[in-house]
Each structure stands twice: as structure tokens, then as C-alpha cells.
């Protein structure tokens, strides 16, 4: 009895381990549970155009911060004859180009390849506390204290924290009849949305609310965008919230990509004129698994020590190898629950593996052909009075010979499939032939038929389990599913009920006993 509990505990632990690894991989690493999930890859190209003035030129472009939901897979900087480096200012990265002498129109490109992945959660840059001092340079720094105080007092009255404060303020500025103060500010300072952003920044700073300037790109909109959408990021404790200057709070999960974060300017140029920037967004759909692997390549040791790090050829071998336990499970189920007889316990699995390579019908045809020719040859070899090892080796050579001839012959006939015959495990075939002929001698052709067809049926079931795309995807990307298979096999190993075949075997017998009673 105790061993029975042990088995349940072991099986439970195996399943639990497998499930927790799988949950981690799905939730944290973002490897999708099913192979057909997709991720979108955005290529964001920023193009900076300017005209050289014959003097030394310097161009500095603010680069996007790491942000949840978007993983930067690749960056490409293209600029002819410019010196290029990545600089860091105020915790933010900038791409900087410089050249001693520039004449005429020029283009510089900086391209990002970004994968949209809801599971990607990088560490975010810390918000810096603003002091109004830093706004001295702004034209609107002289925004009158009274006006500011009035607006802040009003917003405070109608809000409970930084987020609702901002939301109220934005709503107020977008009212049809926002009142005299707002109308004055809008008229006096906020001629365009960039200026409006500054107005909000100053107001929030005066209200002692942590906030950040944001310039965002819309990924779902038209391809070419000439400017970033000014937004605000407001902090309340650990929370962060994006605000559109017109619509108020917006959901970050929308297709917004933050390019500009913080106080720096998007583009700073020296020694050039007519500088312009425009963004060009294109999208491409990727299998999610590929995206997850790219994203977590360095991040997770679970992936670093997984099959994915092997060379592609080895990966393909393991892809097949990982299917063997599935085949074994099929054998166990069919033998213990159905009661099919097979010749050799795992011969069907090897057969099924061969079928995976040759395709089912050609595989079966070739198996039957090789085994029957083999049986004939083996019947003749029996007369030569050879020792067992020598005889099996002889059969093996004959099997190789048959394979070669079947391949050549059917190739001449135009049947390409036959060349894959080499995927059959030859030693197994030779042994099968040997076993079958002994069986023939000892138990007669009927038993050969029973065990031979039993093996084939099990092999065909195993084949269908092994070519199942979902199972294949699961075992390859989540090898821990094999622990679940193991748990099932361990549990099934304790099954002491009747087999399907016994319900037939004992039927007449059971009826007789019942009739007697």
C-alpha cells in the first residue's frame, strides 16, 4: 500500500515540476504554449535630413528607453562618412554623428527592429524629480504664480492623487469653455502641442508631482510620421501612467512606442541647416517562439542551457529523439489497456520513427517487403547450419542488400520515396526477421501474424502520435513535458484492471460461469 502512495507522490511531483517550468517559460519567457502564436516585428526607421554648411557637423538623436512590451532586437545606424557613437546623457542614450566638413543635402538613418511582446518587462529608468528651476529657460517659466496656483488649487480639489490630478487638468484644458485662465494660457503659451506639454510639465512640477516628458510613435497608424506625439508620464508611488494631452490617460498596451523619454531634445544639430526627422514604421509577423528565443537569448539560463543553444543539425536530431517517449507512451497504453501483442517491447517505436522519415504508406510497404524477403532468406540460411550470431549478421547483410536494391529499383521506376528506406534501423529489422522466423517455427505462422500485425498497429498509432504537430512542438520547446509522460507511464504501470483483449478472451468463459449459476 505504501508504495502506491509513493507512486502518486512521485507522479505528482513530476507533473508539478514540469508544470512550473512550463508556466515560467510561458509567463516569464513568453514562449507560447502552441506553435501557431504570432508576434509582430516593427521596423522603425528614423531618417534625419539636413544640409551641410561646409563646416563641421554634429547631429545627436535621442534614443528610445527600454520599455515594457517592446523588445529591441536589432539596431542599425547608417550614415556615410560620419563618425558614429552612442553617448549617454542624463541616463538616456543618444546616437551621435559627427564629421569635420559637410556640404549639400545629407541623410542619416537610425533603424530599430522591435518585437512586440507582452511578456517583456525590462527594468524601467527611474523618474527624476523635477524642480521648477530647470524650467527657467522656458519661455513660459514666467507663467504667473497666481494663475498656476489657481489651476493647481482647482485640480487638487477635484482629484485624489497625482494621476487623477493630471487627468483633471488635461480634461480642463480640453473643455469647450475652459474658463478665462486656461484660455489665456492656451492663447499666450501653448500655440502648439509641444508648448502645451511644457505648460503641463511646469504645472505638475509646481504641484510637486513627478512627471516626465514623452514623445511617442504610433505603430498602428500611417507609415510615415514626421513628429513624435507629445505625452506625459506621471508617477504615483510605483505606478506610472501615460497621458495624452487631448485624450487624457491612455493604455500603454496600445500600439505606442516611446521614443523620447525625459528632458532631452529629440534632435540636436550643430553646423547644419534645414534639419528634419521623420519616422517610417513597417510591420512584419513572426512566429512567437522565434521572437521569445531572440528576446531571452541572454536573459535566461533556462534557455541558455536548453536545446536551442545546440547547432541546428543537433537540434533536429533531438527534435526526433524527444518524440521517442511519446511513442513509448503509446506502446505502454496499447499493451496495458488494449493488450496488443508486439514482437519486442519497443520495436514499434523504432518502426514508427522510421515511418516518420519515410511517410506512412511507403514505410509500411517497404517494411513488409524487407521483412518478407528477409524471412525467405533466413529460411534458407537456417539450412546452412550457422551459429546464431553469424546467422543474424548474415541476415543483416541481406537486409542491407535488399534495401539497396529496393532503393535502386524503385528509383528507376520513378518512385522517389524508396530512397528513404535507409532510415529503417537495420539491426532491428534483422532481429525482427530472426525473431519472426523462430516464432514461425515454434508457434506457427498464426503467431507471426498476430505479433507482426500487433507491432505494425502499435507502430502506426505511435507514428500518428509522433507526427502530431502540437505534441512535437510541446516536446521540443518544453522538454519538461517528458516528465509528465514519465508520470503517466509510472501511474499506468500500476494499472491492475482488465485489458480490452481480455474482455474478449474471457467473454465466453464468463458467460459459461454465469450460466451455470
Amino acid at each position: 500500500m505504501r508504495s502506491k502512495y509513493q507512486i502518486w507522490i512521485i507522479a505528482g511531483l513530476l507533473v508539478l515540476t514540469a508544470l512550473s517550468i512550463m508556466v515560467y517559460k510561458v509567463k516569464v519567457l513568453g514562449i507560447p504554449l502552441f506553435g501557431d502564436e504570432k508576434r509582430t516585428l516593427y521596423t522603425i526607421e528614423s531618417k534625419i535630413s539636413f544640409e551641410g554648411t561646409g563646416k563641421g557637423a554634429f547631429i545627436s538623436l535621442a534614443l528610445p528607453p527600454k520599455q515594457p512590451g517592446f523588445f529591441v532586437e536589432n539596431t542599425i545606424a547608417a550614415s556615410k562618412d560620419f563618425g558614429f557613437y552612442i553617448a549617454e546623457k542624463d541616463g538616456m542614450k543618444r546616437a551621435e554623428w559627427s564629421r569635420r566638413e559637410v556640404k549639400g543635402p545629407q541623410n542619416i538613418y537610425y533603424t530599430l527592429e522591435v518585437i512586440k511582446d507582452p511578456h517583456y518587462k525590462p527594468k524601467l529608468p527611474k523618474p527624476t524629480r523635477f524642480d521648477t528651476e530647470s524650467y527657467r529657460d522656458f519661455e513660459l517659466a514666467d507663467l504667473s504664480e497666481e494663475m498656476a496656483k489657481e489651476l493647481i488649487a482647482d485640480a487638487r480639489l477635484h482629484s485624489k492623487d497625482a494621476l487623477t490630478f493630471t487627468a483633471y487638468l488635461i480634461a480642463k484644458f480640453n473643455e469647450k469653455d475652459p474658463g478665462q485662465t486656461v484660455r489665456y494660457i492656451l492663447h499666450r503659451y501653448a500655440k502648439d502641442s509641444r508648448k502645451l506639454q511644457d505648460v503641463f510639465m511646469v504645472l505638475l512640477a509646481k504641484a510637486e508631482i513627478d512627471a516626465n516628458r514623452i514623445g511617442a510613435l504610433r505603430l498602428d497608424a500611417e507609415r510615415v510620421q514626421k513628429r513624435l506625439i507629445p505625452m506625459l508620464e506621471v508617477y504615483e508611488g510605483e505606478k506610472r501612467q501615460l497621458f495624452d494631452l487631448k485624450k487624457g490617460p491612455i493604455d500603454k498596451s496600445r500600439d505606442l512606442y516611446i521614443w523620447l523619454w525625459g528632458q532631452g531634445s529629440l534632435l540636436i544639430t550643430e553646423g547644419v541647416k534645414k534639419s528634419r526627422i521623420k519616422f517610417d514604421v513597417t510591420r512584419k509577423v513572426l512566429p512567437a517562439r522565434q521572437a521569445a528565443l531572440t528576446i531571452n537569448k541572454e536573459a535566461s539560463s533556462l534557455i541558455d542551457f536548453s536545446l536551442f543553444t545546440l547547432p541546428v543539425e543537433a537540434q533536429n536530431t533531438f527534435k526526433r529523439l524527444l518524440l521517442v517517449p511519446i511513442g513509448a507512451l503509446v506502446v505502454v497504453l496499447l499493451r496495458l489497456f488494449v493488450g496488443l501483442k508486439t514482437s519486442g517491447t519497443f520495436m514499434p517505436v523504432l518502426l514508427a520513427m522510421a515511418f516518420v522519415q519515410t511517410k506512412l504508406l511507403p514505410g509500411i510497404a517497404m517494411f513488409l517487403l524487407v521483412v518478407s524477403i528477409g524471412l525467405l532468406v533466413r529460411a534458407y540460411l537456417a539450412k546452412l547450419n550457422l551459429l546464431l550470431v553469424a546467422r543474424i549478421s548474415a541476415v543483416l547483410i541481406v537486409v542491407v542488400g535488399i534495401m539497396v536494391y529496393v532503393a535502386i529499383f524503385s528509383y528507376k521506376l520513378g518512385i522517389q520515396q524508396s530512397i528513404t528506406i535507409t532510415f529503417f534501423p537495420m539491426i532491428i529489422l534483422a532481429w525482427t526477421i530472426e525473431r519472426m522466423s523462430i516464432l514461425w517455427e515454434e508457434d506457427g505462422p498464426k503467431e507471426v501474424l498476430v505479433q507482426g500485425s500487433g507491432s505494425l498497429i502499435v507502430a502506426i498509432f505511435a507514428y500518428f502520435a509522433m507526427i502530431n504537430r502540437t505534441l512535437g512542438y510541446l516536446t521540443y520547446n518544453f522538454p519538461e513535458t517528458l516528465l509528465i509522460v514519465l508520470a503517466i507511464i509510472i501511474l499506468v504501470g500500476r494499472y491492475s484492471g482488465y485489458r480490452l483483449s481480455e474482455l474478449y478472451r474471457f467473454a465466453a468463459f464468463a458467460k459459461r460461469i454465469e450460466g451455470r449459476k
Binding site: E442, R499, E502, R505
Partner: protein, 314 residues
């Protein structure tokens, strides 16, 4: 096709293959004890030490080099049997009824020459007939002259009695009669007839071939219900003694009856089949439960036999 519901089988106490493997073999047969029964040479030595009669050992061949000296093990002018020491399911057993040193006659009348005999031995040594294909030893035994009472009950072969011994108690018995279909072999799955035998009296109860009921021997037309096994007490005591000898709790004991020497232990089986239930027209599980009530206190073989006969009478 005729089918039966699992609940019916359960109600009738019929033991299935998985139940046998998990609940009985797995629980009562310690793997370490298997070599005692899987190796016929070891079984023989053990039986002799415990004072159980066995067929005479003529000799054994353990290496291909010795195959040349096969003559040393063949009794002059007498029949003999060659068995793989670790064979299973009756595979590789070669019975020779008579010979002149060159030509050997099988029960079927087929004659083979010395070369073929040697090849059989050589195959046996290579492990062709043994469990898992490991190297084996060929055992030569004196042919059993089977008792006249079985005349007409068996066709070209030695009939034997299979007793299932559960935790030392004989629970069920059957006689296995070879037929033309079974090629002189006493294995039910090869087509031998199984006759259920009453544990109390040794009388036939019921007979089956290929799991279906028969009343007469298919080759000799003898009425199978008239079968009565002689020396029945002795057979039961060999069976019960085999438990004390091996310690296996779920054991098949095969006994043959020699005309002159009486019952002899032929071989033991740690994984006896289920067809015995069909031959007896009864499931085994209920009998196991009867034994389970008393088996925890050790008793002498005689007491165990008496208990079985008291409980399992027809």
C-alpha cells in the same frame, strides 16, 4: 465477437494479466528469486536438496566448444529431452523418442540428423530461446515414460500437471495435454488442451482448447471428463513444497508422472498464465482471498494442503 463487461469479470473473480503482474507477481515474487525458477539447472539442484523428485539429469553443455562432445550426454538406446536452462514458454525444448546415434526420431515421427541436433544445441547456447536472449546452457534430461493412465489423453507428448501455488497453498490445478496442433508441447497458447483438475480429488472438471470448451481430446477422441490424476496427494505435496523451496508467493508448479518413479517436479514458473481459470471454469481471485485470510501465519505444507482441500472442494 463476444464481449464481457469488466464489472462482470470482476464479480466473477477472474484474474487479468495486469492484475496478475501488479498485484500478485509484483507483490509476492521477489525478483531476486527468479533465477531459481528461470534456470532449470538451478531448479533441479534446489529440488534435489529439498528432497523433491526431478527427472534425471543426463548432462549439460555450456559452451560451443563442447557441442562436439554431444554424444557424452546422449543415453544409448533411450529417448531424451534437450532444454534451454533459461527457456520460457516451452521454447527450444527438443524431445527425442528414440535414436541410433545418427538419426533421431521426434514425437511427430520426424527424423533429424546429428548435425541438426548439434545446431539446436548451438542455438540454445547462443540464447535464441532464453529470456532476453542471454547466453544459455543446454540441459539434457532422461525422457519421462509417462503413466499408462494417460493413454489416449495426450498426443505425441508428455502431459503434465500445472498447480498454481499461492503463498504456499495450492489454489488451482490443471492437466495440460499435448495435441497435434501443439506439436507435442504442453503449452496452452500453442494449442494444448487444458483440463481443470479438482484440488480435492484429482478428477477432471472441465476442459478447454484455445480458451474454448472441449469435451473430447481433438486427436484421440477420448472423453476428457473421465480423466483422474493418480498420486494426487503426492503431486500436491510437491507443489506446496516448491513454495518452501523458492519463497515465491505466486508460483506455477509443473509436475510430470513417470510410470515407474511417480510424480516428479518438471519445472517452476514465476509468471504462470491465466488460462488455468478457463480450464477450471472459475476465477482465481476468490480463492486468493480465502488464502489471504490465513496466509499471514506460517503453517506446514501438510496443513496448507489440508486447508486448500477443505476450502476448494467442488
Amino acid at each position: 465477437m463476444e464481449w464481457v463487461r469488466p464489472s462482470v469479470l470482476k464479480k466473477l473473480g477472474i484474474l487479468g494479466m495486469n492484475g496478475r503482474n501488479v498485484d500478485y507477481i509484483g507483490r509476492y515474487n521477489d525478483r531476486r528469486l527468479y533465477p531459481l525458477v528461470d534456470n532449470k539447472l538451478k531448479t533441479k539442484e534446489l529440488a534435489l536438496r529439498h528432497g523433491l523428485r526431478v527427472p534425471d539429469l543426463l548432462g549439460s553443455i555450456g559452451s560451443q566448444m563442447e557441442v562436439k562432445k554431444i554424444h557424452e550426454h546422449i543415453p544409448e538406446g533411450e529417448g531424451f529431452v534437450i532444454k534451454p536452462a533459461q527457456g520460457s514458454g516451452g521454447k527450444g525444448i527438443l524431445v527425442i523418442l528414440s535414436h541410433d546415434g545418427e538419426r533421431f526420431t521426434k514425437p511427430s515421427g520426424e527424423v533429424i540428423d546429428l548435425a541438426e541436433l548439434k545446431r539446436h544445441v548451438s542455438n540454445t547456447l547462443s540464447g535464441l530461446y532464453s529470456l532476453g536472449g542471454k547466453d544459455d546452457v543446454a540441459v539434457f534430461e532422461r525422457l519421462i515414460e509417462f503413466d499408462n493412465v494417460f493413454d489416449g489423453f495426450s498426443y505425441e507428448g508428455v502431459p503434465d500437471v500445472r498447480v498454481i501455488v499461492y503463498r504456499g497453498y495450492p489454489v488451482m490445478a490443471m492437466m495440460r495435454l499435448s495435441t497435434a496442433a501443439s506439436d507435442g508441447k504442453a503449452n496452452l497458447h500453442q494449442g494444448a488442451v487444458g483440463v481443470g483438475i479438482d484440488i480435492v480429488t484429482g478428477h477432471a472438471i472441465n476442459a478447454v482448447q484455445y480458451d474454448r470448451p472441449v469435451t473430447h481430446h481433438p486427436d484421440t477422441a477420448k472423453d476428457l471428463h473421465s480423466l483422474k490424476v493418480p498420486h494426487w496427494e503426492e503431486i500436491l505435496s510437491i507443489a506446496a513444497g516448491a513454495y518452501d523451496m523458492t519463497g515465491l508467493g505466486y508460483l506455477g508448479v509443473d509436475v510430470v508422472l513417470d510410470k515407474k518413479r511417480g510424480p516428479m517436479l518438471l519445472e517452476l514458473n514465476a509468471r504462470p498464465g491465466l488460462a488455468i481459470q478457463i480450464a477450471n471454469g472459475e476465477g482465481m481471485l476468490k480463492r486468493f482471498q480465502v488464502i489471504d485470510e490465513v496466509a499471514d501465519t506460517p503453517k506446514s505444507p501438510e496443513k496448507r494442503i489440508a486447508y486448500s482441500r477443505e476450502k476448494f472442494g467442488k
